[in-house]
Symmetry: C2
Subunit: 326 residues, 2 copies
């Protein structure tokens, strides 16, 4: 049978555009012994994909990425037809892979499946590990989160609230700002597009900053560095200000010296060892309504490029997903 893939066909110049991608049909082989055939259910689109487009994403091959799929045919005794699986097979509508490369998912029936792609997926684990392990968060500390309206930032901000911290979020729209204050219940929020960020951040952090959860870089980082407390930590999760090539230099790193600030980069795969504790905690928090979330789900496999492009104009509220099938 024929199936579709999203290919990168040229390297983007700045913000990606539709012409950088193409939808390509090809033949799908039957699964051989030990293999399974999977149909895509949900695909994830994420900011981390942008730097890949200029580096390890091959041209004229399926876009790298993760998703949840359903097994439609299995030649491996450990996986039943109909099982839901997490996979890293990228943007493919249907695919055949060795059974060992997917992980069977047993979603909690009280939660929607989509949360396993964000709060209970890689983005939630990124927030959890980045804040608690890399950020070494202590109860009651002073916390600032950038891109606090996004999939990772919104979870990080709420985990800090659960830990009794004073939490300030930085975001880029008044709608996200209202959501952060009214739904997520953080202590203060700043729209960096309509504020003088250094002044607004200083006003919102009268006790300084112990942990700055960083997704932006540039002027955001410079503003936070001026306010860090001694022995503060900056878990460096992302640097979206640089991904499309229009990066601003960072000028205040010298502030790290006398304040003994630690800044550390990380990726979610560093936290595989935390997965059981994370799944337990996050399932409880979601069921108790202590972690709220927003998701923007676009329908149809062919919408994936436009969903990815939209991330860089802030068109998503919370986690951006593509629904391929029900």
């Amino acid at each position: 049978m024929q199936t579709r893939q999203i290919h990168l066909v040229r390297r983007p110049n700045g913000v990606p555009v539709a012409k950088d991608f193409e939808i390509v049909s090809s033949d799908l082989a039957e699964p051989r012994p030990g293999e399974i055939e999977v149909e895509a259910v949900l695909l994830s689109v994420d900011p981390y994909m942008r730097p890949r487009l200029n580096a390890d994403q091959a041209l004229n091959e399926a876009m790298l990425g993760t998703g949840i799929g359903r097994v439609v045919s299995s030649r491996d005794p450990a996986i039943q037809k109909g099982a839901l699986v997490r996979h890293g097979a990228g943007m493919r509508e249907r695919f055949v892979v060795p059974a060992g490369v997917v992980r069977i998912l047993h979603p909690d029936p009280a939660l929607p499946l989509s949360v396993y792609m964000h709060a209970l997926g890689g983005t939630g684990l990124t927030a959890y590990g980045g804040l608690l392990e890399i950020g070494a968060l202590k109860d009651g500390e002073q916390v600032v989160v950038s891109t606090a309206g996004g999939a990772v930032g919104s979870v990080a901000a709420q985990i800090a609230k659960i830990r009794g911290c004073h939490v300030v979020g930085i975001t880029g729209s008044d709608a996200k700002l209202s959501w952060l204050l009214d739904e997520a219940g953080i202590d203060a929020a700043i729209n960096y597009k309509t504020s003088d960020l250094p002044a607004a951040l200083a006003a919102a952090t009268p006790k300084g900053i112990d942990v700055y959860f960083e997704n932006v870089g540039g002027a955001h980082l410079d503003a936070a560095l001026k306010l860090m407390n001694v022995n503060g930590r900056i878990p460096l999760c992302g640097m979206i200000s640089t991904y499309n090539g229009a990066g601003e230099g960072v000028n205040n790193l010298f502030e790290m010296i006398y304040r003994r600030v630690r800044m550390q980069g990380f990726v979610s795969t560093d936290f595989a060892g935390l997965n059981d504790r994370f799944t337990h905690d996050m399932t409880e928090w979601l069921k108790a309504g202590r972690i709220k979330y927003q998701e923007t789900i676009v329908d149809g496999f062919e919408s994936a490029p436009e969903a990815l492009i939209g991330l860089f104009s802030g068109s998503n509220a919370g986690k951006m997903l593509v629904r391929v099938s029900d």
Copy 2:
């Protein structure tokens, strides 16, 4: 009696100039019970003093700083006349202080006293703690040191050699470069003023960088960030490129994310707990000739401002000291 102090009389604009300082005479009181009178022997001048000149250094008061002095009169039974002491009394030719604010120094007779102001003093401890504790150096790693010809950098580079590492130094003159290769015995040295630093550093680090000991910032840091290995560490000791206000922005911090790089600021007072181990190790290394050093000693109390100014034009080879008395 009358004694002299070096005062800051106006805040420097960029690189300090002679007119920013003044030599002021004043009366010295007799020591009271529990106090000692000390004459300065050696004064330290250091890059860290520059940011202070625009911040916590008071105008029209003695310049903050450390030195070695000799007790000329004691009204405290724990300290004998003639004892050598370390002090933080600043740039004063003679002074009276409570006995408790100095530390008695018992120099090893096989070593010159001046080493207690650099390799066996705060600058040596800064290199030792920064490299081993903050940098978490492991034997045999790939190490780059900036300002490798300076007081801290030259010690850090040689400690890394003692630990079996591959060591590359970055410096600003061919004389320092030759000293690093021929005397200190490091593996490669780069004169950043006459080289294309990113290209030269890449060529000198074919196995990447595990620890980058940072004293400069700006373009130096950007070049190193591109070459860091996964789980690399950047002990942030200084950022001399920014101290005189002409700072260059840093643009490559995003490299820290996928490489999981940790960058951490520190100051030598963080390492008080290491002092005994440091003194033991460094004394052995110096006596065995495993740590070489250069020092630039200017004579006369009144030379202190010019010595400090000279630091920022690289007029020192190694540690800069002022000899006030023998």
